[in-house]
Every structure is written in structure tokens, then in C-alpha cells.
């Protein structure tokens, strides 16, 4: 892997940019690997990267049915934060946030992590109570979060409407200054490049069609559209399709998959300096470095794998955006799209061993997995390498739905689901 640097740019400029090499190779699949990761999204590629760098396991294949980073990694609204209520969630999301800081240097790839602050709006007494509870719980866990008055919120984000005449007036806000955004494609590409340079095989257009198990129940490998590929350890990181893959191994999951939509506006000059979220009117917004307003909508109410979603969902979100930011009422929307998110009953992820020996699963990130990408890959690699969870992901088992030891962010999460 050739290092990217200002000298590399100068060198290539001198010779017509003919020396740039492919960022990752596309090898033919081998018959057998030590570890197979199903799904080349951010979480899967990060898992492969940390298997190679932290645990020295490089005989790894990442299988992807489509193209790398083409699922939810390239469809989310790129928001990063760790202001979750419960200790378990705070642990895993802040682990990720600490890795975001410095990830560009670690990967030698600019993921454009920008700690521009994530501000969550309160519109009524209940919101104030909930958000203040989050502020206090976060601080006890060593996570920055602070309470702002409406005037302070407007100072932090000038286009915000804090008029008392609004239908849902802003009565306060919680601000996590370390929160922000990153460029989601670059995260997948950076991890892919780093993993590939260390010998990991990234195999695109290779759909897993079955999971093979030995007579004793243990995993032997996977059937794919490019033939059988053997491995004694298989990690399923397939987002909305995780339950489909797990069913192939005979494991039924506490998951349901829904379309989640997002949209971007025409590009304009810098106007939104941070991320603004509101649960009550249900909208979130930030501005990309290209100038587009990036707007997140909600999920549809029914199980679907269609990657589309209903128009009324977008309309509802745009109503909320225009309510919060009347200056955007005449903005034109350029594109909208949907991704399929896998949601658990308690709205917390599952990163765990499974009842099948050698089969591991990292799923259930629901509507908010992007922010966790580095931390998720880091602890999932540990779980696979050691056949034992890292202390940070130990609570995120499948068994919690039998024991009742839920991590109930469903009601407590800082974002509406």
C-alpha cells in the first residue's frame, strides 16, 4: 500500500497521475479462509481491518453481494454521537467516538470526521426532562453533553427558528460538542484499503446463499453465487439482511427490517454549522461539505426489503424541517433514497456469539449504526478472534431477549425510532 501524502500528490502531479494504484485488490476467492465476514459495509470492513491489525488474522474474506459500501454505509446521514442513556450503550458508542478521533491518521485515509457538534432540540416539558436526564447520565459516564437555552441554541446554529410563535417552539437543547459527521463512503473505502493491504480478500458481487454446518453443528463455510467457500469462523454483518443469513444457519432472530429514508437538497453555501436533531417533530439535518442539506426521515411502519419507502414519510420530515428552519421552505430537494435497517425489540444492537459454534453476528443497529462503525468493528473482531466478547460488547448478546436483560434504548434513545 502506497502511503497517501502531500508528497505523493506532488509526485503524481508531476507524472500525470499515472502512478496511483487500486485502493484494494479484487482477488478470486480461495477455497478456504480462517474467517469469512458476510457483508462489506463499514462494520464488516472495519471488522476485517481490526482482525488484521489488532489480532494478526489476515486469512480473511469479506463477501459482498453487491458493491462495497453500497448498502446502509452509503445511505445514512453520517451523524456521529455517543449521547446514549444507558451505561452499556454509552460504553460502545463512546468507544467508537474515541476511535473516530484519529481514524483518518490511523487509516491514512481522509474520512472527514468533523466534530461540529450534535444538538438535540426540546419542544416541551417532557423533552426537557428527557434531554436533561441524558445530559446528566452522559456526564456520569464521562461523555460530554450540555444544556443550552433557546438563545444559546440559536447562537450555535443561527438559521434555527426559536420563535415562541412556532407550532412546536424550541424551549432548550442538549449539545454534544464531540458529535458531528464523517464522510461515509470514505469510511468503507479507508477500511477496505487498510484491510486489503494486509492480505484480506474483499470479494464483491458474491452473494451468500447458504451457511454449511458440520454434523456437530459447527460452521464449515458458506455457499455463494461463486461456489462454496470454507471457514471455521463466519461473522454475519449484513444489516437489513442479517436475519436472512442467520436463517440459513437455522437461527431465528429478534429482528425486523424496515425501509429508512434520507434526502439531500440542492447545494448551497455553508448555512448549517452543526447537526440538529429533533425527536418531537422528527427530523434531523446537517450540511455536507458539498453544500447539500442532508436530511434524515423516519422508517416505514411495515417490514420491507424494497429500499424505497413511502412518500408521506419524506413529506412528514420536510414539514418538520420547514418548521425548525423556515428559511429552507423554498429549497429544492435533489435526491431521496431508502436503506433497509434491522431493528431489535430494545433498539440496541446484537454483537455476539450465536448458538452455532463458529458463527458470530453483528446486527440490529437499526436506524443508527454508522456512528458506531469503528467501535463495532473493533470489538466484533475481538469477539471473533478470541471466541469471546470484548467487555464492551459483552452485554449485547442474543440471549438477552430470553433472560430479559434488555438494553432498552427503545424509549431512551436520543433519536426517535
Amino acid at each position: 500500500m502506497k502511503k497517501y501524502s502531500v508528497f505523493a500528490i506532488a509526485r503524481e502531479a508531476m507524472r500525470g497521475h499515472k502512478g496511483w494504484e487500486e485502493q484494494w485488490s479484487s482477488p478470486e476467492p480461495k477455497k478456504e479462509y480462517d474467517v469469512i465476514i458476510v457483508g462489506a459495509g463499514g462494520h464488516g470492513l472495519a471488522t476485517a481491518y481490526y482482525l488484521a491489525t489488532v489480532h494478526g488474522i489476515t486469512n480473511v474474506a469479506v463477501l459482498e453481494k453487491g458493491w462495497l459500501g453500497g448498502g446502509n454505509t452509503g445511505r445514512n446521514t453520517t451523524i456521529i454521537r455517543s449521547n446514549y442513556l444507558y451505561d452499556e450503550s454509552a460504553g460502545i458508542y463512546d468507544h467508537a467516538l474515541k476511535l473516530w478521533d484519529g481514524l483518518s491518521q490511523e487509516l491514512n485515509y481522509n474520512v472527514m470526521y468533523s466534530a461540529r457538534g450534535v444538538m438535540m432540540l426540546a419542544h416541551n416539558v417532557h423533552d426537557i426532562q428527557v434531554l436533561k436526564r441524558h445530559v446528566h447520565a452522559n456526564r456520569l459516564n464521562g461523555i460530554d453533553n450540555e444544556w443550552l437555552t433557546p438563545e444559546q441554541a440559536k447562537e450555535f446554529c443561527p438559521p434555527l427558528n426559536i420563535s415562541r410563535q412556532a407550532r412546536y417552539p424550541v424551549v432548550g437543547a442538549a449539545l454534544q460538542r464531540r458529535g458531528g459527521t464523517a464522510r461515509h463512503d470514505a469510511v468503507a473505502w479507508g477500511y477496505a484499503r487498510g484491510a486489503s493491504a494486509r492480505g484480506v480478500h474483499i470479494i464483491q458481487n458474491c452473494e451468500v446463499t447458504g451457511v454449511k454446518r458440520a454434523a456437530n453443528g459447527a460452521v464449515m463455510g458458506v455457499d455463494t453465487t461463486r461456489g462454496f467457500i470454507g471457514a471455521k469462523k463466519v461473522g454475519v454483518v449484513a444489516a437489513g439482511h442479517s436475519s436472512v443469513i442467520m436463517n440459513m444457519a437455522g437461527v431465528r432472530m429478534p429482528l425486523e427490517s424496515y425501509p429508512l429514508q434520507a434526502l439531500v437538497s440542492e447545494p448551497v453555501k455553508p448555512v448549517v454549522p452543526c447537526v440538529v436533531m429533533s425527536n418531537t417533530v422528527h427530523a434531523y439535518i446537517s450540511q455536507s461539505d458539498k453544500g447539500e442539506l442532508v436530511i434524515g426521515a423516519g422508517t416505514d411502519q411495515y417490514v420491507s426489503y424494497s429500499q424505497t419507502g413511502g412518500l408521506h414519510i419524506l413529506q412528514h420530515t420536510l414539514d418538520a424541517i420547514c418548521e425548525m428552519f423556515p428559511i429552507f421552505t423554498r429549497m429544492k430537494m435533489l435526491r431521496s433514497w431508502g436503506g433497509i435497517v434491522d431493528v431489535t425489540p430494545d433498539r440496541s444492537p446484537i454483537l455476539a456469539k450465536t448458538p452455532v459454534p463458529g458463527l458470530y453476528v453483528n446486527c440490529g443497529w437499526g436506524t443508527g449504526g454508522f456512528k458506531a462503525t469503528p467501535g463495532s468493528g473493533h470489538v466484533f473482531a475481538h469477539t471473533i478472534a478470541k471466541d469471546d466478547p470484548h467487555p464492551i460488547n459483552a452485554p449485547f448478546t442474543i440471549e438477552r431477549f430470553r433472560t430479559g436483560r434488555l438494553i432498552d434504548e427503545a424509549a431512551a434513545a436520543a433519536v426517535a425510532h
Partner: protein, 98 residues
């Protein structure tokens, strides 16, 4: 937005009038307190989440307000059929080859 046929109103109405109520044909135990942890987990948390044909409950909340069941393809979102609550899970789907 989906168009959904309510089997009670016998009309196709827009999705906004309906509320999805999750997977259908999951029987609630008559003796909930006596359920084992395994059975309770299966009843309460485990879902089939199929990529393809799903059997699901809907409620015509802004219409007749009644619950009914539907068969839908989760890849195309096309409804195969709807039927009244309490009717058995259809053994054969209209248009199915076998």
C-alpha cells in the same frame, strides 16, 4: 404509499388510514404466567422477518378500526390478499404456482 384492501370495508384505501400491527398468526399463550423463558422469547421477540411473502396484521384505524390479516411480498411491497381476523392462514395463495 401503499393501497390496502380492508376485508371488512371491502375497499382499497390509502396506507395513511391503516396501522401495521406486526407479524400475524403468533398465538398468545392462554397461560402466560406458565410460559417458559424460551417460549416467551419466541412469542414476544423472535420474528420471521421474511424476504418474500409475509403474513401480517393491519388495523384500519382511521376507517372501521378493525384488525385484519394480509399477505404481502416484502421485496415488491405488493399485496397478495387480505382476509379477516380469525380466518385461517391461507394454505394456497392466489396466483401461486403450486
Amino acid at each position: 404509499m401503499l393501497l390496502i384492501r380492508c376485508p371488512y370495508c371491502e375497499e382499497e384505501r390509502p396506507e395513511l388510514e391503516f396501522r401495521n400491527a406486526g407479524e400475524a398468526h403468533i398465538a398468545r399463550s392462554a397461560n402466560m404466567a406458565g410460559e417458559s423463558d424460551d417460549d416467551f422469547e419466541k412469542f414476544f421477540f423472535i420474528r420471521s422477518n421474511p424476504k418474500g411473502i409475509i403474513y401480517e396484521r393491519w388495523r384500519h384505524i382511521h376507517g372501521c378500526a378493525r384488525f385484519f390479516n394480509a399477505v404481502r411480498d416484502t421485496v415488491t411491497d405488493k399485496f397478495v390478499m387480505t382476509y379477516k381476523a380469525g380466518e385461517p392462514k391461507p394454505a394456497k395463495l392466489p396466483g401461486a404456482s403450486k
